[in-house]
């Protein structure tokens, strides 16, 4: 049957070898440059594309490459363009753009074999620079494909005579990679890791990221709630605590200017009294867990309330403020991991007096008069501070307040408007208004921001805390009990704390279709959700073991390896593996030799033992003649002669005849061999 052949080989095969190689190099370069187009300025992408197409046309048409007189002005113009776009040529992004342009122009200036290596090595480096922008599993797969393409190109250029088809060469490249993989894994695991950076990095080394800031203004949290990006992941050593206990403490905000809550920066002390030490008493067992935090570009570390000790970071010790905010010594610019233990049941500064309590009572002058008056009323109505707290929570729960992602805009007296007009808000509205009322009622109060909740991935047991879990709650100081967490949002929307944000909000209806919203927010046991969990677990494993495999993790792994390796069981396993390997090697070597040839060697060896070694230059026929004339018992002599006759007939059969010996020949020879004694 006649089949249509694809047109590519027809077009491909008549090309001379060097042109095929050049086109292969072009294809590999395109593969390496392609992911860079996502972040490069459009003009760089277009210029590179045009240069590569130019090179391909020159190759196909057999034209000469442009001279340096043409190339040099182009290169200088491109450099000027980079300078114009990035205002530097030294930064990370500018450097990548320069490298990309360099590779493209180098393709037009390839004269010697050395230039091929230059291009391939630059391509390897460009694969690395792509990791500045993405280190996902997909990027890793693309990296492997690019490496195979580069290896194939490199080995194609080494060939001199016979050129195997492209498919075979690709297989050769893939084979090199496959053989390299275990070695690379060993290097990856065992190579001593150090903490970077080795030198100061350019300012654009870290991209912007979303996350909690250390201020709170209306609308800030609701925009965070739209982001599905993970903030951090948590793995508990024991059973995880219940969802309502998962308050991840972040920045504590005490200063209010009428619109924005921010941290107390100046800490004036009345008198010369030393600051009161922070006293905490805890009850019950500590929960142990490990937090893997995504880069936030901020110094805040998040911990379950209340952490027992400061976490140890690879970059140095963390510190804590008197408000028990945890801080790293420098902004978190890469994924970090820290171990913590926290007490869920605790008392925080449970004394009878609070130093500098006035700080937590300050309110902006002349704003929100209605709320101010309400607070003073509370103070008169309820002598006990706890009663005032409960009254406000009751007010939120019963007086038609609603929890929404899209609250109405608020004016100058934001708290008044929210409390008495709109009555709809997100967590920042409730936390802010609550603290305002408490301060007005004479109770020291402050806003605590952080995250609340998290999603348990049943596949790997990790809690994922996303940006959408960002939350604001409040703390009030009650004499004798200390700082007490009060979450006014829980009074309005208990589901937010009990389960998750998605359950607390009304189901979204994208494009007006209710069903679509349910599809995008699948039930936790649906197939879609399970797929999502599986992908999440894979990503988390990737982050934990590949991207974030640092000195700490390496140390821990080595220790566990040491424990597991130095036992008799593993030693026995190792010995067994070695034995199997050696045996397999020996067998395969034996199989490689033709059985007839092996029998011939055995015969020569045996005759040698009988005093008739074969001379190195002796063929079987000459050997047979010598054996026939030697003093040997007639039985073995006849057998040896017959053996050599048959061997010689087989070995020197004319090539036209089939080279394969009959199935019986080895058997016959073996039988004859056994008679030579």
């Amino acid at each position: 049957m006649k089949t249509l052949r694809p047109s590519l080989p027809r077009f491909w095969s008549p090309l001379p070898r060097d042109k095929q190689d050049t086109l292969l190099l072009l294809a590999s370069t395109v593969l390496v440059l392609l992911p860079h187009t996502a972040h490069l300025p459009l003009w760089v992408t277009l210029l590179c594309g045009a240069t590569l197409v130019w090179r391909a046309l020159l190759t196909l048409l057999g034209r000469r490459m442009p001279t340096n007189l043409v190339l040099a002005p182009m290169a200088i113009a491109a450099m000027a363009g980079v300078l114009q776009t990035y205002h530097t040529v030294l930064g990370r992004d500018a450097g990548v753009a320069m490298l990309v342009l360099l590779v493209a122009f180098k393709m037009l200036e390839m004269h010697a074999r050395r230039d091929l290596f230059v291009v391939v090595f630059l391509c390897f480096f460009l694969v690395l620079t792509n990791f500045f922008y993405s280190q996902s599993i997909g990027t890793a797969l693309l990296m492997l494909v690019s490496i195979v393409a580069l290896l194939t190109t490199q080995l194609s250029f080494q060939l001199t005579g016979a050129v195997p088809p492209l498919r075979t060469r690709l297989l050769m490249g893939a084979k090199i990679l496959a053989l390299a993989a275990p070695l690379a894994a060993v290097g990856f695991i065992l190579f001593p890791r150090v903490n970077g950076p080795l030198w100061g990095m350019p300012d654009d080394a870290h991209g912007a990221s979303t996350g909690l800031s250390d201020t709170m203004a209306p609308g800030q949290f609701s925009s965070l709630a739209q982001s599905d990006d993970p903030a951090f992941r948590v793995k508990f050593d024991g059973p995880p605590p219940a969802q309502p206990q998962l308050y991840w403490r972040g920045p504590v905000l005490g200063a209010y200017d009428g619109r924005t809550w921010s941290r107390l920066t100046a800490r004036p002390h009345l008198g010369s009294k030393a600051p009161q030490p922070v006293s905490i008493s805890v009850r019950g067992d500590a929960l142990r867990y490990q937090v893997t935090m995504e880069p936030s570009n901020m110094r805040w570390l998040f911990a379950l309330e209340m952490p027992r000790a400061l976490p140890q970071l690879s970059s140095g010790a963390a510190s804590a403020t008197p408000e028990l905010e945890l801080q790293a010594s420098s902004p978190v610019r890469e994924r970090i991991r820290y171990d913590l233990a926290s007490y869920v049941d605790f008392s925080f500064q449970p004394g009878d007096t609070l130093d500098n309590a006035y700080q937590w009572l300050l309110l902006p002058y002349g704003r929100n008069p209605k709320a101010l008056a309400a607070g003073q009323r509370l103070r008169q109505d309820y002598p006990e501070p706890l009663q005032r707290v409960q009254a406000v929570l009751r007010q939120f729960a019963t007086q038609g307040y609603s929890y929404t992602l899209e609250p109405p805009l608020l004016g100058v007296d934001a708290v008044d408007e929210f409390l008495y007009d709109t009555r709809a808000g997100f967590c920042e509205h409730y936390a802010g208004a609550f603290v305002f009322l408490m301060r007005a009622a004479g109770i020291p109060a402050r806003v605590v921001t952080g995250y609340q909740g998290g999603e348990l991935n049943p596949i790997d047991g990790y809690f994922t805390v996303r940006q959408s879990d960002a939350h604001a709650w409040s703390e009030v100081w009650l004499p004798g009990r200390g700082w007490v967490r009060v979450d006014p949002t829980a009074a309005v929307a208990p589901d937010r704390v009990q389960r998750s944000l998605a359950r607390a909000l009304p189901a979204p209806a994208p494009f007006g279709f209710e069903g679509l919203g349910r599809l995008l927010q699948p039930a936790p046991d649906s197939l879609l959700a399970r797929v999502r969990f599986a992908i999440g677990a894979a990503n988390n494993g990737w982050n934990q073991w590949v991207l974030n495999y640092g000195p700490q993790r390496q140390h821990a792994l080595m220790e566990s390896l040491q424990d597991n390796l130095f036992s008799w069981r593993s030693a026995a396993l190792l010995a067994l593996a070695c034995a199997v390997l050696l045996l397999g090697r020996k067998l395969s070597r034996q199989r490689r030799e033709d059985p007839v040839d092996r029998l011939y060697s055995a015969l020569c060896h045996r005759l040698g033992q009988l005093g008739l070694p074969r001379a190195p230059d002796e063929g079987p026929t000459a050997y047979a003649a010598r054996v026939a004339g030697a003093a040997l018992a007639p039985g073995p002599k006849a057998a040896a002669a017959e053996f050599l006759r048959r061997y010689s007939a087989w070995r020197y059969a004319p090539p036209a005849q089939p080279q394969f010996h009959g199935a019986g020949l080895p058997t016959i020879l073996k039988e004859l061999l056994s008679r030579v004694r």
Binding site: F125, Q158, A180, F188
Partner: protein, 342 residues
């Protein structure tokens, strides 16, 4: 007993002795003549990085520094994959050369000063196809012959070594090298093929004419005459122009030097042509005599005059034809050497 004796020696001299032993075995390995077929085992194959390989290690360093500095987890992955690919290339380059079987093939006979061809047979009895093997004599600066040896197949390379003097010429040491697959490492091996080429004496230029009447025949009528056309010989100054063999000159083999030839006429009985070493003027250098005889052998063959050769005790009866010529030239080539008896 000997072990005890060795153990009593001071450590320094023992180490020195061991090193000396190692060195001599190394020298033996690299220069000894390899009898018959040779397999390139791991003791014979050497591997070193090429200049591109050094560049690759610089690339690896750059990748590592970039990964550390920017804490790129995947960058570490790329670095180690690239490094491992380099190591795999080292092993692959070694395997591309190792376990090849080498056998000397035929070696042609040449005149001194010509390039002697040596045929080398490469057999690949493994299941691994070998690509881009560069083969040349050791002294060549740039290898000129590249071959591929398919799995279970073979290849033939003909190398040439410049011959200098007559006699047996040993095959020069052969260097096999490969940079396949990635060009980062150069694996090479030396092989001294057990093969030799016969080098004939250089045929003398401007030799005197064939001694057609080397010995006066008993009837005294064997001198050169002008009656019968007997053949042609090299032009000698003083030959009359009308005796030049123009037709011969037109189709003359350039191997004779493209010289003019003169028609030779003989009168009387045709004498047997005997090329006798002892008949040459005794004051001539032996090599020059052999050189002249070689020229005469070629000339006699060209003129189809049966000729005999006498070299002292050795005598080859008169004859004609390529086999006879080869036998005569071989006798000339080996005259006075230990192989003369062959």
């Amino acid at each position: 007993m000997t072990d005890l004796a060795v153990a009593r020696l001071p450590l320094g001299s023992r180490v020195f002795g061991w090193l000396r032993g190692r060195r001599s075995t190394w020298r033996e390995r690299t220069t000894a003549r390899d009898r018959g077929e040779v397999e390139l085992n791991q003791r014979r194959v050497y591997v070193l990085p090429t200049r591109a390989g050094l560049g690759f290690s610089a690339l690896l360093l750059a990748l590592l520094v970039g990964s550390v500095n920017y804490s790129l987890g995947l960058g570490f992955g790329l670095t180690f994959v690239a490094a491992a690919c380099g190591l795999v290339d080292m092993i692959a380059a070694y395997r591309n050369l190792a376990h090849l079987h080498l056998r000397p093939g035929r070696a042609g006979a040449v005149f001194a000063g010509e390039e002697a061809p040596f045929e080398l047979l490469l057999a690949n009895r493994t299941r691994l196809s070998r690509f881009a093997l560069w083969v040349d004599i050791d002294t060549a600066t740039d290898p000129r012959h590249a071959v591929d040896v398919p799995a279970g197949g073979g290849a033939t390379v003909v190398l040439s070594g410049t011959s200098s003097r007559r006699g047996w010429m040993k095959a020069p040491r052969v260097r096999l090298a490969t940079r396949f697959p990635l060009g980062l490492f150069n694996a090479w091996s030396y092989w001294q093929p057990d093969s030799r080429a016969l080098v004939y004496p250089f045929p003398e230029q401007d030799a005197p004419p064939l001694p057609v009447s080397g010995h006066p025949s008993p009837d005294g009528a064997g001198s050169a005459g002008s009656d019968d056309f007997a053949g042609v010989r090299s032009y000698q100054p003083g030959d009359p122009l009308r005796q030049l063999a123009w037709r011969h000159i037109a189709r003359l083999d350039p191997s004779l030097g493209g010289q003019l030839v003169t028609k030779q006429f003989e009168g009387g009985a045709l004498d047997e042509l005997v090329l006798d070493l002892d008949a040459l003027p005794p004051r001539l250098d032996l090599e020059l005599k052999l050189s002249r005889l070689a020229r005469w052998v070629l000339e006699a063959e060209l003129r189809a005059l049966p000729y005999a050769l006498r070299l002292g005790r050795q005598a080859i009866d008169a004859g004609l034809g390529p086999a006879h010529q080869a036998a005569c030239l071989e006798a000339l080539a080996l005259y006075g050497s230990v192989d003369e008896a062959r």
